[in-house]
Amino acid sequence: MEYNKNLIRIANRIQDTLTKLRNNHYAEVLNRIEKLLDKMEELQVKSKLMRESLSRGWNSSAEECCNNLSRILNDVTHSTSHVQQLVDLPRKKVPMLTELGNELEQLMQEFEEVEINLAEGTISVETEPITLEEIYLGPFKIQLRLAMLSKLYSSPAYHVIALDPHPAATSEEVTHPHVSNEQLCEGDGSAAVRASLEDGRLYDFFTLVKSILNTYSADSPYVALSEWEGISCYNCGYTCGSDNGYFCGFCDRDYCEECSLCCHECDETVCSGCVTSCSICDDSVCPNCVRTCSECGSYCCKSCMEGTICKDCQESEVENEQRNEPISTNTQCTNTNQPDTTPKEVNSTTEGAKPVGLEIQSCGMGEAGLLPG
């Protein structure tokens, strides 16, 4: 008896809420029209400015007005379709109490865990544990809040609560690929979910939400299942998505962006533990590309090596060789400030050269002249 009374009470509440929803529907239509009218007003103001600009020959100002008008027109299009959506919704009758009572009974028969909380004004259904692509997500509670049902067109009327949360490693509020902060993104099911709530078809509503929770859409999740468990950096412990993680093939471990580098020689990813800094140019070098100088034993990249010794050692060797070279006394010193008095015979076989048979002879006083030979 008590059970039936509770069912009738909750059915009554649902009916009241759906009646409010009908009225709110009209209020929401008005609200959206007002937004559309605001946009139209903006359009009017901008077009006046444009007319003014044109009359004064201010082309730059007219151009800016044009750009603004384009933006406002996009907003008008969006606002118009927003109103149209609501206005075009078929008018539905508020279901009778018996119908709502039947809905609640069907809910109780078909779902194992159904909770009706009169005090809080909620109807909740628990799903079985959900596993998608071998990722365990746990069971969920679909909680319909009657107070929010009357505001269906402006706020979500239900929450999806993880009962044994196994959220994405990179985002705690994402407990399911299509649930964030307890809000389900209905995707392909949104029209049907809304219609079922408007009609008071509670069984259909919960079944639809359950179907969405049991389906994975790889095209547009909050977090993809392939990245659900993320990657934990071996060095600092930071958890990142697989797209932001790096694998060091030298120690076979995963690292975050901060703890991994790129070998300057071969571009291979190497962790901060396996990398070596070239002692000459300071570039990062992987274990495959690092070289050891046979002279000083320092680690260098290939570019800083000259054979088996590093550039520093090579330079030192050259300097030592130069320092140790003896100075020769037979070397003729050439003084370019004094004229060269040695007569020279000029013979040329190339075009444009000096004529054959002329001699260059010193005239003294640092001068030379051409004399016929």
């Binding site: 993104c185 209905e186 099911g189 049907a192 219609a195 078809r201 069984y203 259909d204 079944t207 049991n214």
Partner: protein, 74 residues
């Protein structure tokens, strides 16, 4: 005869439609859901699960709800 058909696949609209006498649930599904597989749907007549050879009657309420619906991210 007339039945109420609630198609939760897509828009979720409820419509009264006329069907031939002695139409079974299976036949109705084939007509309305053509290329779809009945295994992918929950079918209820007057809020009760029924067998595929159940013969629909005047005034029956049939709902067809997909078991797989792709969600998204906002």
């Amino acid at each position: 005869m007339r039945i109420l058909f609630i198609n939760n696949d897509g828009g979720g609209f409820a419509d009264y439609i006329d069907i031939a006498e002695n139409t079974t649930v299976e036949q109705f599904f084939t007509i309305k859901m053509s290329s779809q597989n009945a295994e992918d749907y929950t079918i209820r007549v007057n809020r009760q699960p029924v067998s595929r050879d159940y013969v629909l009657r005047d005034g029956d309420r049939i709902t067809i709800t997909p078991t797989k619906i792709e969600g998204a991210a906002v």
